[in-house]
Amino acid sequence: MFKLLREIVKTGDVTTRYPKKPFPISPNFRGRVEYDPLRCMACAACTIACPANALSMVTDPAAGKRTWMFNYGRCVVCARCEEVCPTEAIVLSGQFELAVRAKSDLMVTAEFSLVTCRQCDTPFAPKKEVDYAMALLERAGVNPHDLELRRVQYETCPECRRLNDFARLRETRLVSGLDAPAAALVADLVSHMAPLRSGAELEP
């Protein structure tokens, strides 16, 4: 009993003044996600990494827009998004206060405009992502002529690029030189893809 009283007196008051005074945390604390839409290029790496499905993306082809969405209510503060983000658009801060008055306040969204494909006019990739890739090449010292060729390539959607590749392969007679089953496979593939795009001239 005496020991306990001595311990209590020795310890004194341990209650902190929180929330009047900020509560100290460790330097490495994983706190609330801070998002910078100006740095983000909607590459979707974070939405794939997120184990809790707090991060998601939806594409609206009609409006040519892609929406990045983050739900603080689902977030488990694991920092996987921070780990995979190539542009440091997501950083975990030291903040831990997440109370809001309305549930909708837990949602953060950002809209990104999409590049439309030069050949088929379908919106397919975020404009900022294409610009980011071009800027990387430019900084790597690629000459302006090649850079322009790359831009044409990057602003063509994957489906059209695939069809272009087939067309090129056929010109170089790589496809026509195949044995019968392989040629049939390629023909089948092309016929499936052709109706998707206005690629009538590609019919084998």
Binding site: E7, I25, P51, V76, A79
Partner: protein, 571 residues
């Protein structure tokens, strides 16, 4: 399969059962050097498990059922035994159950420890244990449809829940009373305590004659979720959330299981960091329980002091991992963050402070007359009952068995760590408190050792590929006992089957025997002594079957009665 295994432990057990059962032993395969899976004929399953359990010092780790119809046209049962005598290993007895005749001979009449596992297998897979005396459901609620088995492949979408198939609860609470008694239901009336559970105490006056309980009111369907939605590394963050107190140890066990299935060599430094985090978790959780023990014997000043000291353990976790709980530290192949010099020094500083504080607090606690008066001889767990049901952690160590998976089947960086497995012979609540007190001191030594001996090097390996249908066991010693994770990898970047057994699952079944012959006022104390993720009930309803009266006792009153043991609210 599993050519990477060169050392093969468990051969002596295999030879022994081969000699005894001959042709019934069909196949044996090593997953790691200390994990062997032996396929036996279904009809011989009970005898083989019994021989290994009682004849060769096997203890039950868990039972896994697996829907392998797309692989071999059968359901499979895996009885995982931890062999703790000579030739230590995990010995897994596997039996195939034909898809057209989903039943198997129950092992429960021979080895009572498997009772919960077999009841769960019936609920989740619809495999009927023939000869199992207990016909009640374990996991599924009473209003669940009869023919829907959630863990069968393609049985249901994890996001949906079927319409209730029954209008009311039909669960019957069983007992072995011989004369008329009063029934005391405890819970699940309110769930603001950690977790809900429903206890039914059969009492004569204030003496408990028998007890039964029902749990799983908050079954979250994690195994199904992991199998259907999550990739291998995402499951790490799910396992962190199995328990609010000891989640890390689950992610440690899960990652170990996947790594062992694939034969991945995890960098030594990563294993040290994992073990430090695991030990920090054991430290703060054991302190929490020592605090709760103070609370339940009415020594609330001690409770407050223990929680004040425990804050330092939480700070160590925060320095080490970036969070007080849910460390999000492990990935398959290693850990996500290293321990740098500044952090290392800070941890050592905190450990030194803790050592002083803990010594002072424990000194005060141990010299409190109330502690011994209230806990000695209360909630006795007979060693024979313990042997029959394979509990783990402080529950079994308080009854004289030195069971600790850190020394039985060393993992992480524990092989050379100064682990002291403390046992007590008292078999009562006091013994379990004393075991935890010793564990707290030992955790501090282990943390210091691991921080001091931590080798340099990488903390994560990557670039391995997942091989379908490989499987293995992961084991860790959580604060409350051993965690067992069994995983089988799939072919779609998802687990084919994941079975997780937390220690409390192994500790609940013995609680019934610990209740017997104790006063109702001691019930909350006995429940708390197994340190479940549930410590007391908000209030209890007393039903006197003879007078047909119902009395509701509020939680505060029950707690007061539990502490003071006078002015019974039942009188």
């Amino acid at each position: 399969m599993n050519d990477h295994v060169t050392i093969r432990r468990g051969q002596s057990h295999l030879d022994a059962i081969r000699l005894q059962y001959g042709a019934a032993i069909e196949d044996a395969e090593w997953q790691t050097e200390n994990q062997v899976t032996v396929t036996v004929a279904l009809a011989s399953l009970p005898e083989v498990v019994e021989t290994l359990y009682y004849g060769r010092e096997g203890w039950l780790a868990t039972i896994v059922a697996n829907d392998e119809r797309q692989l071999n046209g059968h359901y499979a049962l895996y009885y995982i035994l931890s062999m703790e005598g000579a030739d230590r290993c995990f010995f897994v007895v596997r039996a195939l159950v034909p898809a057209h005749k989903p039943e198997f001979p129950s092992v429960t009449p021979r080895v009572p420890a498997v009772v919960w596992g077999e009841r769960e297998v019936r609920d989740m897979f619809g495999l009927e244990p023939v000869g199992l005396p207990d016909q009640r459901r374990l996991v599924l609620p009473d209003d669940w449809p009869d023919d829907l088995y959630p863990l069968r492949k393609g049985a249901m979408d994890y996001r949906t829940r079927p319409m209730p198939a029954a209008p009311a609860e039909t669960y019957t609470f069983i007992n072995e009373k011989t004369k008329t008694s009063t029934e005391v239901p405890l819970g699940p009336l309110h769930i603001t305590s950690d977790e809900p559970a429903h206890f039914r105490l059969f009492v004569d006056g204030e003496r408990i004659i028998d007890a039964d309980y029902r749990l799983f009111y908050v079954h979250r369907g994690m195994e199904k979720l992991a199998e259907t939605r999550m990739s291998y590394n995402e499951v790490n963050f799910l396992t962190d959330r199995i328990c609010g107190i000891c989640g890390f140890t689950h992610s440690f066990a899960y990652s170990s299981a996947v790594e062992r299935a694939l034969g991945i060599d995890v960098p030594e430094r990563a294993q040290f960091i994992r073990s430090v985090a695991g030990e920090v978790e054991r430290l703060h959780s054991n302190l929490l329980n020592v605090g709760l023990a103070c609370h339940f014997i009415g020594f609330d000043s001690g409770f407050m002091q223990v929680f004040r000291v425990r804050e330092k353990a939480m700070t160590i976790a925060e320095v080490l991992t970036g969070a007080r709980k849910t460390y999000a530290l492990t990935l398959v192949g290693g850990v996500r963050r290293d321990i740098h010099k500044a952090e290392r020094l800070r941890i050592l500083e905190l450990v030194a402070e803790l050592r002083r504080d803990v010594a002072d607090i424990l000194d005060i606690l141990m010299s409190t007359a109330n502690l011994e008066a209230r806990t000695r001889g209360v909630g006795r767990l007979d060693p024979k009952i313990a042997r029959d049901f394979s509990p783990s952690g402080a529950v079994v160590r308080g009854s004289g068995f030195a069971r600790d998976t850190r020394t039985m089947h060393p993992y992480g960086a524990y092989a050379n760590a100064p682990v002291v497995v403390h046992t007590e012979q008292g078999c009562d609540v006091l013994s379990r408190v004393l075991v935890r007190v010793e564990d707290v001191q030992n955790s501090l030594d282990i943390i210091e050792y691991l921080i001091d001996k931590m080798p340099e090097g990488p903390v994560l390996v990557e670039g391995f590929s997942y091989i379908p249908q490989r499987f293995a066991i992961g084991n860790t010693e959580a604060p409350r006992g051993d965690d067992i994770h069994w995983v089988m990898l799939g072919d779609n970047q998802k687990l084919y089957r994941w079975r997780c057994r937390a220690p409390t699952y192994a500790n609940w079944p013995v609680l019934r025997y610990m209740f017997r012959d104790n006063s109702v006022a001691d019930a909350p104390l006995i429940v708390a002594s197994i340190d479940p993720c549930y410590s007391c009930c908000d209030r209890m309803t007393v039903v006197d079957v003879r007078k047909e009266t119902t009395t509701v006792v509020p939680m505060k009153e029950l707690e007061r009665w539990g502490r003071e043991r006078k002015d019974s609210p039942l009188a």
